[in-house]
């Protein structure tokens, strides 16, 4: 990939999948992407479990795919919709890695003559409380990777990954300038004024991450009701000063578009250099002997 572009024409496809109907959902996504064919964006982000639905219980084993297969399906989807255009796609899916199952998100580069998986992130924080039951069915990822794209360094955080302040922090310290957050959040909390509490909470935490680290945040929320639990959509794009540039409604599938000026990142960081400050103080914080961390290095992954 050549020189980093300063302009990122981003789109979020907020999907509303039919439960478990992967082929039909692919088709619907293709129809939606065709709408972009006259002016294709540089990057399209889709939610967590974008093409299967989120609450699959044991059916996750029927629907999980090898990463290469999902990459091929996404690439074909794009070529069918916007033939000839180069694009990056980021989407969440259930991954079958030779019998080990993950809640994953992929960043894929698609050119007319081939595709390349740029990064595969396996969700690290699997919510298993209350309405959530992920770790009953899935294994957790062990790495927070950042990766180079033609728009600079990025990180993928799947849903709860982004709820722990330390995760966007580490991603930013490792150089990520754009955080992509595919998510599936069952909406709840009706006591707030004007919107569900969980939607307001998500927007707050994403804005705080953007402001603190001077990063763009692209949040893709799944939508549609699943067994009474309404996925709260509300996909949004947030600039490095915390401004919500574009936001989708909670209900129904839609496409959100916004052109991002990536030079905003350096300007925001010059005004509020918290990330630089953190870089110098981070060793003192993380090497604190009172922290409950294993000493002498991390345990082996497997």
């Amino acid at each position: 990939m050549s020189e980093t572009s300063v302009r990122l024409r981003a789109a979020i496809l907020q999907t509303k999948p039919l439960k478990g109907q992967y082929a039909r959902n692919l088709q619907s996504a293709g129809t939606a992407l065709k709408q972009l064919s006259k002016d294709p964006p540089d990057l399209v982000v889709m939610p967590e479990a974008a093409l299967t639905g989120y609450f699959l219980e044991g059916a996750v084993y029927d629907l999980a795919l090898p990463a290469e297969r999902f990459a091929r399906d996404l690439a074909q989807l794009w070529r069918g919709a916007c033939a000839g255009a180069v694009v990056d796609l980021a989407a969440g899916f259930y991954e079958n890695d030779a019998g080990t199952y993950y809640n994953s998100a992929m960043y894929l580069h698609v050119a007319p003559d081939g595709e390349q998986i740029v990064h595969l992130h396996r969700k690290m924080f699997l919510p298993t409380y209350g309405v959530f039951d992920e770790e009953r069915f899935l294994s957790r990822g062990r790495n927070l990777g950042v990766f180079e794209t033609r728009f600079g360094r990025m990180a993928l955080l799947v849903c709860e990954d982004a709820c722990h302040a330390i995760v966007p922090t580490i991603a930013a310290v490792k150089g990520a300038r754009v955080l992509i957050v595919p998510s599936a959040s069952p909406g709840r909390g009706i006591e707030n004024d004007g919107e569900l509490g969980s939607i307001a909470q998500w927007r707050d935490r994403l804005r705080f991450a953007a402001i603190e680290h001077g990063v763009f945040v692209l949040y893709a929320g799944l939508t549609g009701f699943e067994g009474g639990k309404g996925m709260s959509g509300s996909s949004c794009m947030i600039d490095p000063r915390g401004t919500v540039l574009a936001e989708a409604p909670p209900f129904d599938a839609c496409i959100l578009r916004c052109d991002l000026d990536l030079r905003e990142i350096d300007l925001a960081r010059a005004t509020l250099p918290l990330l630089g400050d953190l870089g110098s103080a981070l060793p003192d914080l993380l090497l604190d002997e009172e922290l409950p961390l294993p000493r002498g290095g991390r345990a082996a992954d497997r």
Binding site: L18, K19, G20, E57, I190, E191, F225, E226, G227, G230
Partner: protein
């Protein structure tokens, strides 16, 4: 002297609700969940009370009045005003309405059980209403919609496998006080909101007399119990030990009513134990 700033101490009230947000959410719920079930029409029992009225208003918003069928199912001892109050809802919304008297069906069985007490008789009526509702569902090709609220679900103040049987329930996660607020927002006729709630299974019956506590107090206590507060913490916040004990006893004594029947597990493929598929799969 410096001023001391501290929040006023008062007994917690029931949780609030943003009725516009809740309405938007519940309308989307009804639309989406009917699509999954390949249905376009709803049928519900309309009692003349606020719960079924709110449910009818939500269904009419979500599906259009022409797709909503209300069934009034009086028993011979039901108050005449209940029928009239249900009619107010039908008129306000322009939904379909039928009246099916369950007296003959209920009495057809109860003639063999002349000594059945009020509770048993009430349960027979509630279950008969579901026989009617599900048959009307088949006749009208319309999905039965439940009308039970969260307060009665938590207190076990309903007939198991009767009021709780319809496959969709839009208000089952709303406490009674929240249902009242939602009713005001939706424009439910004031009579239905202001009158004393009643199961209308016996003459002069009211919910609050049956339960021994007001809905306002019950909802406030239930809310804190669900959030994990202990009885002692509730008493510290100003509720009487008797009220707290009453609500706690009803909740703890009725967990079984909020579950499907218990099935003996014998294999490694037991349904809903090992073989796990979501309802909309």
């Amino acid at each position: 002297m410096l001023p001391i700033v501290e929040p006023a101490r008062q007994i917690p009230g029931p949780p609030g609700i943003d009725p516009a947000v809740a309405t938007e959410w519940l309308v989307a719920f009804l639309r989406d969940e009917l699509v999954v079930r390949r249905q376009t029409r709803a049928v519900l029992g309309l009692s003349g009370g606020v719960d079924s009225a709110v449910t009818a208003f939500l269904c009419a918003r979500a599906l259009g009045p022409d797709n909503v069928y209300a069934i009034r199912m009086p028993y011979k001892t039901s108050q005449a005003s209940s029928l009239a109050d249900a009619a107010l809802v039908v008129e306000a919304l322009g939904i379909h309405c039928a009246t099916i008297d369950i007296s003959a069906a209920v009495d057809g069985y109860l003639q063999y059980e002349p000594n059945a007490d009020a509770r048993r008789r009430g349960n027979v009526m509630a279950r008969t209403r579901m026989v009617v509702l599900f048959d009307q569902s088949a006749k009208l090709d319309a999905l039965p919609i439940g009308t039970g609220n969260k307060t009665e679900r938590l207190l076990g103040y309903f007939t198991w496998h009767a009021d709780d049987t319809p496959p969709l329930n839009p208000i089952g996660d709303l406490l009674k006080c929240q249902v009242w607020e939602l009713a005001r927002y939706l424009g439910v006729p004031g009579r239905l909101i202001d009158k004393a709630p009643t199961a209308d299974l016996e003459a002069d019956q009211t919910d609050e007399a049956d339960l021994g506590i007001s809905y306002r107090d019950a909802d406030a206590i239930l809310n804190l119990i669900l959030l994990g507060y202990s009885d002692a913490q509730l008493v510290e916040r100003g509720f009487s030990p008797q009220q707290v004990a009453l609500v706690r006893r009803r909740v703890d004594g009725t967990h079984w009513k909020r579950h499907l029947p218990t099935t003996a597990m014998l294999t490694g493929t037991a349904i809903n134990e090992f073989y796990l598929r979501p309802v909309d799969f």
